[in-house]
């Protein structure tokens, strides 16, 4: 059996060489009074932050539920978080400048709402580049006032909207199993995570820590991945 992998690009970046962060702590971080659960601002955050001992006690509470009871449809009246989880380490360099255009001018980088709508229609209708060029060449668009006049300049504007696209560089690998040599392409999975987790467009729908929600502060509620057990258990994982 012969398997040989040849990487022609530096695909697997040493992500561990990124700026070193603090050691992951579980017990001695300060208790946070707020939560990253921003998707439902109406939730009342209760004062039942857990300690490590309480985490263990509540670990299997879902197993003791009375299955004959009808499901509870209620907003959570209580939440528990892991102290210190999701604690920010610092500010993203250039974050304000990067998002200034987006927050001050919703049409940026296009010069007008009309331009933005036309570009949106081109993209969503999957109009080919040749047809976009023909559209402007035939004078159908008001080219004097447009911030883009061809498929190429439209692509340049769209690239501005996606400033983190450099994370999604594809590496090439060749696999030889002794019978066939196959080439395949893939991006670095950590860079894909970097790309997703810093998308400002997701900022209201991103959570950074697990959460336990309760009805009447007693019954456990499960609604999202971060309110279930897996994330909680892996978060408090003891590295020793």
């Amino acid at each position: 059996m012969h398997l040989d992998i040849v990487l022609s690009l530096n695909a697997i970046a040493d992500t561990a060489s990124s700026p070193a962060g603090p050691t992951f702590l579980r017990d001695d971080l300060e208790t946070m009074t707020d939560s990253d659960y921003e998707s439902d601002p109406g939730l009342e955050i209760a004062d039942i932050h857990t300690t490590t001992g309480e985490i263990d006690d509540m670990h299997n509470d879902s197993d003791t539920e009375d299955v004959s009871r009808p499901p509870v449809r209620a907003h959570p009246s209580g939440q528990a978080t892991i102290p210190g989880a999701s604690r920010p380490l610092g500010e993203v360099a250039g974050y304000t400048v990067l998002n200034k255009a987006m927050t001050h001018d919703p049409c940026s980088p296009f010069s007008s709402e009309d331009d933005f709508n036309l570009a949106t229609w081109f993209v969503r209708s999957k109009v080919p580049k040749s047809h976009i060029d023909a559209y402007f060449a035939q004078g159908l668009g008001d080219t004097d006032s447009r911030s883009f006049r061809s498929a190429y300049t439209l692509r340049q504007h769209l690239d501005v909207l996606d400033p983190f696209r450099e994370y999604l560089v594809w590496a090439e690998a060749s696999i030889d199993d002794g019978r066939h040599a196959t080439t395949f392409y893939y991006p670095n999975i950590i860079d894909c995570v970097r790309y997703l987790i810093r998308q400002v467009g997701y900022s209201w729908d991103i959570v950074y820590a697990p959460l336990r929600e309760y009805h009447l502060r007693v019954e456990r509620l499960y609604s999202k991945m971060h309110t279930a057990d897996w994330w909680w258990d892996i978060q408090v994982w003891d590295r020793s």
């Binding site: 992500t15 962060g21 610092g90 395949f184 999975i189 998308q199 900022s203």
Partner: protein, 218 residues
């Protein structure tokens, strides 16, 4: 989170298939994660599709099957290798709210249909990826609890067995519905391969109920 599925592209032009693998992150709430317009799911790789078997018998196909399985594992090892570096120590990342945080990237779920799970986890087509229930006892007694699969133990047992006991070992794994050396999720640290399968409404509830109802009506 990973997602994958093989798809048939052509039937009469060489039986072409595509095998895309996607990824996303659990930090994104499901209402955004499930929105195609917001593109929260990224293409991670197009797995090389092996050629069709040409052997005349199952025994003749055994070697190319193992070669294909080894190739598949090599591809997944390569794609998932960066997770190994950060699963223990984490890495600092820029987040959408303008803060930097120490992040640990751990494979938590693999969204796929049962046939895809059987291929990637190296189990039989009628075997459960989560527990060791024999296929003939599936759907019999819902109160019966079976032992959770431990794929790492399977691998260690397969590696350390005495060659003289090869026949007994093959029978042992066959009883468990496991194919030796074919699980692609053994490598990444802090990943429980049995935990990657997440039941979904379509494949595990609706189709199961439909089949059960049809059998009841017959």
């Amino acid at each position: 989170m990973g997602l994958s599925d093989q798809m048939q592209l052509t039937n009469f032009s060489g039986d072409k298939k595509a095998w895309p693998v996607y990824m996303t992150i659990g930090n994104i709430l499901s209402r955004t994660r499930n929105s195609l317009a917001k593109i929260p799911i990224l293409l991670l790789a197009l797995i090389p599709v092996p050629p069709k078997f040409t052997g005349e018998s199952a025994r003749a196909n055994q070697a190319p099957r193992q070669t294909n399985a080894d190739t598949l594992r090599a591809v997944f090892d390569l794609v998932l290798a960066p997770l190994q570096l950060v699963a223990q120590e984490g890495t600092v990342m820029d987040c959408a709210d303008g803060k930097t945080r120490l992040c640990f990237h751990i494979l938590s779920a693999w969204i796929a249909d049962p046939a895809e799970h059987a291929t990637l986890q190296g189990i039989g087509s009628k075997s459960c990826p989560k527990c060791e229930v024999p296929c003939e006892e599936l759907g019999r007694d819902p109160r019966q609890i079976y032992e959770t699969r431990n794929y790492v133990r399977y691998r260690e047992k397969a590696l350390r067995h005495d060659p003289a006991e090869a026949a007994g070992m093959a029978e042992y794994f066959q009883g468990l519905g496991v194919k030796i050396r074919k699980n692609v999720f053994i490598g990444p640290d802090r990943v429980n391969s049995a935990d990657l399968h997440k039941p979904d409404l379509l494949h595990n509830i609706y189709l199961g109920l439909f089949k059960h109802m049809m059998e009841s009506m017959e």
